[in-house]
Symmetry: C2
Subunit: 576 residues, 2 copies
């Protein structure tokens, strides 16, 4: 057994990453230093023990409180931006073994359903989470989570998507530690019993509770903005959900996609297997945005009809499937020559009247994107989740979400636009003098490509900043039509001075930038005030900019809300 | 001989277009009513004479003042928007004869040069104009021109381009009437003697004096805004001029266009004859805009470097020539496969250092527009005028004017952007906190596609309106990248209420709208004020809108000035 005082180790010039605090100092622990067991005795702060384990029993459930900041120490390194290169390495074998064991069904433990878990979101009721099939009580750990309150986003629900996002959680130590909090099992079989068969939404899938619902039935929800910017690809479970109707239950074995030219013979009927086996697989990474994203800012000016979306009705995924061109060719249709003006898409989600969701795009867009439009069967490498269109969704890069029909089972080339409500009497733009008493939906054009937008995801509105001198602002920017982001301007003094943010566009061409640009800027705060307004505004590759004010673009449906994004914050300085 | 009192005719239910004034009433004259001779005796107001002519002598020069509003009457019908369908028809033979005679050299008359004519712009010095080779003194007619002061745009200069624009002037009566004012001849030969051979700009062509210069050397000028909206295609003589250097003198017989991939053998050298005879001719109607259009609005906020453009550094023409793809294929270059990132264009206009004007576009734009980009040799059906690039200009639809190189003689596919000053250190956008002390041109992207813009061309800033109840507002709207105009919103009360304008997009597809949309709206004026602000703002087919304020987009070069356009006017109402 050998103990070594970590602070001493730091002083000795070990691989210490600026040991100014406990949290940063822990990052230095190297495999060599930790030895083969690689366990840290967290009950003896600053001491490292190659043999002893900090927990004292094998079977799940919390019985004795460890020094709780310790797990935090293990996690914090993973969350640091610059520290990642210094994490100690675990052998692949060890990690693999721990990962395989984590969350598997364990005999002898009680079985819960998700609604049981969902009742445990606060310290009073104990805080439970699930990981795969494991149920864990993490109540006593929460207060010391180095990532702060973010851990509560998982309270009463699955942490799987968070761990997907913060991949650094996937370390043998953390898997092992998690199992120490194990209190039970969860099974999907149990849950199905709960579905209310009379409720048309009774067959909707369970959603991750971190999603903030804009409506429950149909289910519409957005992820917390601060999570969006931690991952270029949004994890499937956290991707914003925009449903117009109940989620259909679809049997992949009997499912088929019909492709046809309206009023003509021919066309094709394709099974899921056909799509997966008969065509080359193509992937495209796109951002999808609801036309109502940021509607809440318009509602503040004057009421509008529509879901009260915040700034996160937008997400990004890699979609894989078959190009529209390949499917049409297979169906005997040459999109460049066919005498049609629109491509209609029909979903399998049905209203009480039996009418399905539908939409269309102009043939010009379909032609120019024929090799970019994907009939997708994979989302971020997995089967598309039920909420996002299982088994098929049409992905049309650069276009509003409303036209990217989910549960797609029909593609029809037509001389007419889709006659659906959502194409004809919704998702159109009007000026601020048009309201419900004088609107004529036939006079406006259906929204297709979306305009330039950006938003601040961190800090949040009303937040008290940590630092009085400067603030790090993070967010997203995106424009329709494949227009990349040339610049994001950020102000921390209400627009008096502007700074250019650093951009991460995932190396997209500025002329085929289907996905967003994440950005970050650290800018000085005004010296003489206690409050300030942070602002961002973006420029796309056509040098389109965002409008200054929400007032100028207000419209009765609250769509296309892309004004400069403003966030008011408090500066922590008693001298001010 | 038969006379008929026109007002009586109107009362009798003839084809009268609301005869509320002399000017509108004249519009009713139909061929049947006028009889075969079709002449109007303007010296006897309201009387029509089938045989007599209103003028009394054959040889040019003004001798006897006719009732001057009469010519005005002849013209005004031509200017009305709705009246045009009712104009009387002249037989083609008669019109042709009159047109052929108008402005031809006439023996026995004095010969003048254009500088002589240019001295005669006011009533004091007499007002002269030219038409083809004819010089005319129209002093006494001017005050009664039904088109108002617009006639003075031609004072001291050629009226040819105006008559091209207002094609309705081309009537036998008007040609004949014009010749009555004939006082002399003008020859181009005379003018050439005047050129100062020492001045690098001494060989620049003469320009139409209606153009308002932003600089003389190099020559940069824009047409009067009110003329832009009277013609979907801008007449060549009135097309805005943006020269960076002296206009080169090019011999079409020895001229050639070189096409090559940088650092590779091959390519081609094409004569003008080759281009005209070996390739299919393709036409494309595009709007070209200087990135500095509307810079004057930025200058009002804070000084910028650049020409003080008003709102008319934008014009539209039909260009004809050979597609880039055809030329590249002929040169052995497959644009879709060539390992290059940019297409560079070089002009023949040279600075004192021998460096020529140059620019480039990204290969992605060249690829997607390979059949839309034109190496043009015709502008509105004529040889391209020297100021606009004779003999060749590259036309790249939807792109800023600066990349559409004039006097084009080299196309080079390269791995690099053009190294020219104008590509590297000019025509880029920055935020309003960047000024000359902290600018780094390498950090910004060269402007290519332009953002949505619109402007009010009528009424003009500071104008006293004619009507106290409502105002007719006219202007243009355009967006880069082929994005058509979905909507133009117009306000006559400073932005409190908005009205949708009627649009004329020349039936372009909203996804390949290379040319502008002209628009018009008649909207009520506020009841209780003597002054008001008219505003316009447009929406393109990506639902991009213009920014509200100039302040938000100010930049050190004064480019991309596309805020809402505002015009202050006075309302003529003593009760206010």
């Amino acid at each position: 057994m050998s103990f070594l005082h970590v602070s001493k180790f730091c002083q000795q010039g070990g691989r210490c990453f600026q040991p100014t605090s406990r949290n940063t100092c822990i990052r230095i622990l190297s495999p060599a230093f930790l030895g083969s067991a690689s366990y840290v005795d967290w009950r003896q702060p600053w001491l490292v023990d190659n043999n002893r384990r900090w927990y004292s029993h094998e079977n799940g459930g919390y019985q004795k409180k460890p020094s709780l900041w310790k797990w935090g120490l293990g996690l914090v390194g993973s969350l640091g931006v610059v520290g990642s290169a210094l994490y100690w390495k675990i052998s692949h074998q060890k990690l693999h073994a721990a990962e395989v064991e984590a969350g598997v069904l364990k005999t002898g433990l009680p079985t819960y359903v998700r609604t049981d878990v969902a009742k445990h979101k606060t310290a009073e009721s104990r805080i439970w989470v699930t990981y795969r099939n494991g149920v864990y009580d993490i109540t006593d750990y929460v207060s010391e989570h180095p990532g702060g309150n973010k851990i509560l986003l998982g309270a009463g629900a699955a942490i799987d998507p968070f761990w997907e996002m913060y991949g650094v959680h996937k370390q043998a130590e953390i898997f092992a530690m998690l199992e120490k909090y194990r209190i039970g099992n969860i099974t999907e079989v149990e849950e199905k019993k709960e579905a209310d068969k009379k409720d048309p939404y009774g067959n909707d899938p369970k959603r991750h509770p971190a999603l903030k619902p804009a409506s429950e039935k149909p289910f519409n929800a957005e992820p917390p903005p601060s999570l969006l910017i931690h991952s270029y690809l949004t994890p499937n479970d956290l991707f914003f959900i925009r449903n117009h109707l109940p989620v259909p239950v679809i049997d992949p074995k009997t499912f088929s996609l019909q492709v046809a030219v309206e009023k003509e013979n021919g066309g094709a009927k394709l099974s899921l297997d056909d799509l997966k086996s008969k065509f080359p697989k193509k992937s495209v990474t796109t951002t999808i945005q609801c036309s109502g994203n940021r509607r809440s800012e318009m509602i503040k000016i004057k009421s509008v009809k529509g879901l009260n979306w915040g700034i996160a009705a937008i997400s990004t995924a890699e979609w894989s499937g078959v190009t529209l061109d390949a499917i049409l060719k297979h169906s005997g249709i040459d999109i460049d020559k066919v005498d049609c003006k629109h491509v209609q898409f029909e979903g399998m989600d049905k209203g009480p009247d039996g009418a399905t969701y539908g939409a269309s795009i102009p043939i010009e867009i379909a032609r120019s994107l024929k090799n970019e439009i994907i009939v997708a069967y994979k989302m971020n490498g997995k089967d598309i989740p039920r909420d996002h269109g299982y088994p098929l969704r049409i992905i049309i890069p650069g276009i509003v979400g409303a036209r990217q029909v989910k549960w797609l089972n029909k593609i029809v080339l037509s001389k007419e636009e889709s006659s659906s409500h959502w194409q004809q009497r919704d998702y159109k733009g009007f000026n601020s003098s048009i309201d419900w008493h004088n609107v004529d939906f036939s006079k406006a054009q259906a929204i297709q490509e979306l305009p330039i937008v950006s938003a601040i995801c961190e800090p949040a509105e009303g937040e008290m900043l940590e630092d009085a001198e400067e603030v790090t602002i993070k967010g997203y920017a995106w424009s329709g039509g494949g227009r990349g982001i040339y610049r994001v301007d950020v102000s921390a003094d209400g627009g008096k001075t502007w700074h250019e943010a650093d951009l991460n566009s995932n190396n997209q061409s500025p002329y085929k930038a289907w996905a967003w640009t994440l950005w970050e800027a650290t800018v000085p705060l005004p010296k003489s005030s206690k409050n300030t307004q942070l602002i961002c505004k973006a420029i796309d590759s056509s040098y389109n900019c965002q409008p200054d004010s929400v007032e100028g673009i207000w419209n009765l449906r609250g769509v296309l809300s892309n004004a400069w994004h403003r966030v008011s914050v408090t500066i922590p300085n008693d001298q001010r």
